[in-house]
């Protein structure tokens, strides 16, 4: 079983649209994991049935027991996040501001503060329109994605892929270069970067590549909207060559990309789109690369 993780560093490069297209091309061969949990949107394109759901707990927040509280105000003084107030006469914690550091609980002379695990959202296993299953998650308002949640989504996807003997896991990776991305990359067999020929596109590609390089995971790159700025596209290709990243495909700018998204479909469901052919070849190439590894 091979795990392919698709990341971009920068938002808006077309990562999720391309990931969903690979999911369609792989059909029932690939279990999908949506690890872009902060802004999960694979479900808009792959039509899950939300078959199974479960609560997800992550991180802690302070809770003050009003029975034990002696209203000394020390907790409010030490809190660096302005998460404690006593506007109502009672000392209370705002969960949106509380970072869970535990300083208040540590100094409370009455032992009135405990750190409580937070229910931050739900994770799901769904049947999707590709004929396979997807593991995904949704966060409550104000909740953060975490390495823990990504690890959970990936672990469940791997368990299903093992059980159903699937050859591929396709992971829509988290954005940025922080903890959730590190967790997305962990255990990956191949990384696909999706970038675009803009200054921030190449900048964020370089940044996220540094992370992938640390893990020594082989990687390839798709340049989306490559024809919009041929000079920056050439710069990106030079960067790929210099760093041993395989150049997988150039996608032309085409309005079918937006049209598919607006209709809640993947691009490869539009046979007349010039992108469909390129992505189909790209998926075949990817499978060959993985076979040779």
């Amino acid at each position: 079983m091979k795990e392919i993780v698709i990341i971009s560093g920068k938002g808006g490069t077309g990562k999720t649209s391309i990931t969903a297209s690979f999911a369609m091309l792989a059909g029932s061969d690939a279990i999908i994991a949506d690890c872009d949990v902060d802004a999960a949107d694979m479900h808009l394109l792959l039509k899950p049935d939300w078959f199974m759901q479960d609560d997800f707990y992550s991180g802690v927040a302070a809770e003050i027991d009003p029975e034990k509280c002696i209203k000394c105000g020390k907790c409010e003084q030490v809190c660096r996040f302005e998460a404690i107030n006593h506007e109502t006469g009672q000392y209370e914690v705002s969960n949106l501001n509380c970072e869970g550091c535990g300083y208040c609980g540590h100094i409370c002379p009455a032992g009135a503060i405990s750190m409580v695990e937070q229910n931050v959202g739900k994770w799901y296993v769904s049947d999707i329109k590709t004929g396979a299953k997807m593991v995904h998650a949704g966060l409550k308002i104000g909740a953060d994605n975490s390495g823990k949640l990504v690890a959970k989504v990936k672990r469940e996807a791997k368990a299903i892929a093992t059980l159903e003997n699937k050859p591929y896991i396709i992971v829509d990776g988290s954005p940025g270069i922080g903890c959730p991305v590190v967790s997305s990359l962990s255990g990956a067999d191949f990384v696909v970067f999706v970038t675009e020929p803009t200054v921030s596109g190449i900048h964020d590609l370089e940044r996220v590549y540094q992370l992938v390089e640390k893990f020594r995971i082989p990687s390839g790159c798709i340049i989306n909207k490559a024809d919009l700025n041929e000079q920056v596209s050439a710069e990106i290709k030079l960067f790929l060559t210099n760093n041993g990243i395989q150049h997988l495909a150039d996608l032309p700018y085409d309005e079918s990309f937006t049209k598919a998204m607006t209709n809640g479909q993947t691009i490869v469901e539009y046979p007349d789109s010039p992108i469909t052919g390129v992505l189909t070849i790209c998926w075949t190439d990817l499978k060959l690369i993985l076979e040779k590894q």
Binding site: K148, A151, S186, G187, R216
Partner: protein
């Protein structure tokens, strides 16, 4: 030589956990004593953030000379581990502990 493995189980036939920070167990094989010991890492695997440096701390305390894992530690954990003399071997993600040990002995695993 004490060799640490990131694993999903507690014996020779357990799979290597490809993750470093969120590995389920750390298994230590002491070659001189021919003895296996296990450390349950699931509490660390369950923290929201900072699993890497916490697991690195555990490795630091256990003092193995060699670590065998899947992808290798991320940036923060690697920064901790470079302060030790630990040699890190990667690429054992799809192996059992036994296979990974043999691959290490025959020089198949890459040093990170």
């Amino acid at each position: 030589m004490k060799i640490a493995f990131t694993t999903t189980g507690t014996d020779w036939n357990a799979s290597i956990d490809p993750r470093f920070g969120r590995t389920e167990y750390i298994l230590i094989y002491d070659e001189e004593k021919d003895e296996i010991t296990n450390f349950d890492n699931r509490d660390i695997a369950d923290v929201a953030h900072g699993a890497g440096p916490k697991t690195a701390q555990l490795i630091f305390d256990l003092k193995p000379q060699v670590l065998i894992t899947g992808n290798g530690p991320g940036g923060n954990a690697a920064a901790v581990l470079t302060k030790t003399d630990l040699k890190i071997y990667i690429g054992a993600g799809n192996m059992t502990v036994k296979e990974a040990y043999e691959a290490y002995k025959t020089g198949i695993l890459k040093q990170s």
